[in-house]
């Protein structure tokens, strides 16, 4: 069964016939050939498929594509354009992307954080990114990049005691 979906994708109107069982991740990768959103586990744990739906971070692998209808979807391809977004620039310049597979999801989670909190602490960055796994960086340069993009430029601190 197919569904006709109308939504805003990266600032532009998008209309597509989607399979009813598709997730947002299927819609992006299989339906629209937008490969920037990554499939790391398909179980909603790793965060590599994080995209923003009406500005809220979602796990694209868990949300049905039908949920995007009449809403606003932002993926990594929608950031920056020719110019780079401040987060993309900081991630690239500071070595926050190693293998890069977690990077699009990381950047979108960080973008949602900065939209709510323009000057987060290192701990607030760590809390906001706790659902995005990275196996390469140890998170040090990722946290630095988010703080840099926020203009906070504070030293990277560890998670405080619980």
């Amino acid at each position: 069964m197919k569904l006709a979906l109308d939504f805003t994708l990266n600032g532009r109107p998008c209309r597509i016939e989607a399979e009813a069982h598709w997730t947002v991740l299927d819609l992006l990768r299989d339906g629209l050939a937008l490969f920037g959103t990554k499939d790391g586990c398909g179980e909603g744990v790793c965060g590599a498929c994080t995209v923003l739906l009406d500005g809220e971070p979602i796990r694209a692998c868990l949300v049905l594509a039908a949920r995007a209808h009449a809403r606003d979807l932002l993926t990594i391809e929608g950031l920056g354009g020719d110019e780079m977004d401040a987060l993309q620039e900081a991630f690239g310049r500071l070595g926050a992307a190693q293998c890069g597979f977690c990077t699009p999801g990381m950047i979108l989670s960080a973008r949602a954080l900065l939209a709510e909190n323009a000057a987060p602490s290192a701990h607030e960055v760590r809390e906001a990114l706790a659902g995005n796994l990275c196996r390469c960086t140890g998170y040090v340069k990722i946290v630095e990049a988010v703080l840099d993009a926020a203009g906070a430029r504070r030293p990277c601190a560890s998670a405080p005691s619980s």
């Binding site: 050939a33 398909g42 790793c46 597979f101 960086t137 140890g138």
Partner: protein
């Protein structure tokens, strides 16, 4: 030589690939769809040990949209040999070397072993076909513990017995050593199966190209696996090509064949493009893990702390097939004594088949397990003698001119004491315990080889050329696993040619179209491809300088290159841009490109009975220091601070070097505190990321990296390798910190809350 004398080398240079990655560009093996593409799917064994009675694929084949349902009978040569080049066969003589079939025939030996390969028009048809495949199994007794597998009555995983390979190390007279010893400490250390958990699972797409060549674009650390595919399909090696993509992480888990042979088989049989992506669960049960070890260590020392003898037994669980287990165990043998002088040594090591998951390569390749044991022993020794753990280590550290236990004499200064004291000092003043939180601190000193074993005659090639606009191109088939391998090759070229870093690009990592560079494994690419690129760039530079000397009417010795221009030393006004020089070079008969090869120094195979000889060309030395908090009511443990200090020889790209260490340390922290494959008689109980936890931002501590640049390495500009050494000592340092916090030795990973609590209660 310090970084200050270089323009590119040693600085923070953003990697060219990073800009693609932050934009989400389709650079990975899973990021493409081809017209007419089929979806691959694998049916795997649900049993750890069973006989296959029958396989019925008729219903699956009859399903609309199914293009192929293949079994062992469809594989022309059903054996994945995975033999590394070099004199490997000689060194495994006598081993029961059981290679894995592409598809199991009459017997399955681990949960997840591939049995049937499917290609269908859609994901749904492939999934439905997989359900319709009927495999009848008869469960067989299995063996799930490497010690039990050594029992003469244990079920045999393969004909010929369960012992895959033994290695031995003998130095001095260990009995005499223990007679002299004034104190002996003995402990048994245990480590579990651990998964790589790269964010990108095993992935590939394959097709037949216009010239009829079977072409695979795969997430792999080893482009040379095109040969394995060719062998399995009985095709000439020249008819299979592997195109490298950027990897979404590897860590050794994409060193063995993953999707290659299955994908090649499906493409070969259907003659259509096929995509094969393992699910996360398949990745967990299907690919090789880190080997579990049981390590009994007995160390004899004088009251001064001087070590006089070591007697160690290492048992590793190879799982169901050989994979790279003999070599992983060999690294353990060589590193068993740690970075210490030990005059009398006896180490016996054995790797054993079981019906557990396959174990194979994983970052540090056998060095991380022995580090846990030798560093645990150092703290145990210090405690038994009432000495400072730093002083006990300092008394025994290897120095220039000392021999490691294989008899190899170290030709450069390891700087171990400096790495230890600087890491320890950087932890800062000790924190005080508060309430029910105990604070502990621990050290892990280490040594890890970089580059492959000397007797493998390792080699890498690279091409460097100038374009007419004066920019440079590097061609070198070195897969980039995310560590910045490609960017480093560009930096080396930029440094030598006097170009800005962004005016050098590396194009293509391809088994057929770029010079063969060997595997991105064994911390070898900077050493091997780095040196090959260095040679090629120097050759191009020579011709460029000659051209400039002629053009500027100066001696070649007086020509300098910088920022894409050649000028006469002391007369910067006498200058010419590279573009003008390059355009004139052909007419002058000067080449603008060079293909060069680097051969690692070689040595004979080590003595199989005593382990004596030169196993590796060089080692990276370094220490990590860790502070932990332990909740003495729950046993929950958290690392609060980690400092790593290494002699890296020469930093090539500062952010890449730091990134390797930060990432390696946090991966090692996962091993220490969180990670283990939970097995019940060979069946995984946690093949999902929800149950198999890796460190998140909230588990990872602040990591401080201190880089020493001795210039003593064998890589370009005196660099050493850091990819694997970054991780080697972390679990040991965390274990020692926890033992310090709880006041009791704790010797089995991971250090779960239950285990830590039990250690505290036993001590109370």
């Amino acid at each position: 030589m310090s970084s200050q004398s270089y323009r590119v080398i040693g600085r923070n240079v953003p990697r060219p690939d990073a800009w693609e990655k932050v934009r989400g560009r389709p650079i990975y093996a899973g990021d493409s769809i081809m017209a007419g593409m089929l979806i691959g799917r694998i049916v795997r064994s649900p049993y750890a040990s069973a006989r296959i009675v029958s396989i019925d694929t008729s219903a699956a084949r009859a399903l609309p949209g199914v293009a192929a349902v293949l079994t062992h009978a469809d594989v022309p040569r059903n054996e994945m040999r995975m033999e590394l080049p070099g004199r490997m066969a000689e060194a495994t003589a006598g081993a029961v070397l059981a290679t894995q079939p592409v598809l199991a025939g009459d017997r399955v030996r681990f949960q997840g072993e591939p049995v049937v390969a499917i290609a269908a028009e859609t994901h749904e048809a492939a999934a439905r076909a997989a359900e319709l495949v009927e495999v009848e199994y008869e469960e067989l007794p299995g063996v799930y513990d490497p010690i039990a597998a050594l029992d003469p009555g244990a079920p045999h995983v393969h004909d010929g017995g369960n012992v895959l390979r033994r290695w031995h190390l003998r130095r001095g007279d260990v009995a005499e050593g223990f007679r002299r010893a004034e104190i002996v400490v003995e402990q048994v250390y245990r480590t579990p199966f651990v998964d790589h958990v790269y964010l990108e699972t095993e992935t590939g797409i394959g097709w037949i190209d216009a010239e009829g060549v079977l072409t695979l674009r795969v997430s792999t650390q080893v482009l040379e696996h095109f040969r394995d595919v060719a062998e399995v399909l009985r095709l000439p090696h020249s008819r299979v090509r592997l195109e490298g993509a950027y990897l979404g992480g590897g860590f050794g888990g994409k060193e063995d064949v993953t999707v290659e042979c299955l994908l090649g088989l499906l493409v070969h049989r259907t003659r259509r493009p096929v995509q094969l992506v393992f699910s996360r669960e398949e990745s967990f049960i299907g690919h090789g893990k880190r080997h579990p070890y049981v390590m009994r260590y007995r160390t004899g020392a004088m009251r001064s702390g001087e070590i006089v003898a070591l007697d160690a037994e290492l048992v590793s669980d190879s799982g169901a097939y050989a994979a790279l287990s003999p070599w992983v165990l060999f690294y353990s043998l060589v590193t068993a004594t740690g970075p210490y002088r030990v005059p009398h040594v006896k180490v016996d090591a054995v790797t054993v088949y079981t019906n557990n998951p396959i174990a194979s390569a994983y970052r540090t390749f056998g060095s991380i397990q022995t580090c846990l044991a030798y560093e645990g022993q150092m703290d145990a020794l210090a405690k038994a003698l009432g000495l400072d753990p730093l002083e006990v280590r300092a008394r025994n550290f290897l120095r220039k001119g000392d021999a490691i236990a294989t008899g190899q004499v170290l030709e450069t200064e390891p700087m171990l004491e400096e790495t230890m004291r600087r890491a320890w000092a950087a932890l800062g003043p000790p924190r005080r315990a508060t309430g029910h939180v105990r604070i502990g601190r621990g050290l892990g000193a280490s040594f890890t080889p970089y580059g492959r074993m000397c007797w493998t005659h390792d080699s890498a090639s690279a091409w460097v050329g100038l374009e007419l606009d004066g920019t440079a191109v590097v061609r070198c088939a070195a897969p980039d696993v995310g560590g910045g391998q490609t960017a480093s090759l560009c930096s080396i070229t930029a440094e030598v040619l006097g170009l800005p870093a962004e005016q050098v690009v590396a194009v293509g990592r391809d088994s057929h179209f770029t010079p063969r560079a060997g595997t991105t494994t064994a911390t070898r690419q900077l050493l091997m491809s780095g040196n090959a690129v260095l040679r090629a760039a120097r050759e191009v530079r020579r011709h460029l300088v000659d051209q400039a000397a002629a053009r500027l009417e100066a001696a070649a010795a007086d020509i300098e290159l910088a920022e894409g221009r050649a000028f006469v030393r002391g007369a910067p006004g006498r200058a010419v841009g590279f573009a003008e020089l390059v355009k004139a070079m052909p007419a002058a008969g000067r080449p603008t490109q060079a293909l060069e090869k680097f051969d690692a120094p070689s040595a004979p195979t080590i003595d199989p009975l005593t382990g004596q000889g030169k196993p590796f060309n060089d080692y990276t030395f370094g220490t990590q220091a860790v502070e932990v908090e332990v909740d003495d009511e729950t046993g929950e443990t958290r690392a609060t601070r980690l400092v790593a200090c290494y002699d890296v020889g020469q930093v090539i790209n500062r952010q890449s070097a730091e990134g390797q260490i930060e990432g390696g340390a946090v991966q090692g922290l996962g091993h220490a505190l969180l990670e283990a494959v939970a097995l019940e008689e060979g069946i995984s109980r946690n093949p999902h990321l929800l149950e198999y936890r890796i460190p998140t931002t909230l588990d990872a501590p602040a990591v401080e990296t201190i880089l020493i640049e001795s210039g003593a390495g064998l890589g370009p500009f005196g660099a050493k390798g850091i990819g694997e050494p970054a991780m080697t000592p972390t679990p040991a340092a965390v274990m020692n910190a926890v033992a310090h916090a709880v006041g009791r030795p704790i010797t089995e990973l991971p250090l779960t809350a239950e285990r830590v609590l039990a250690a505290m209660e036993n001590g109370a």
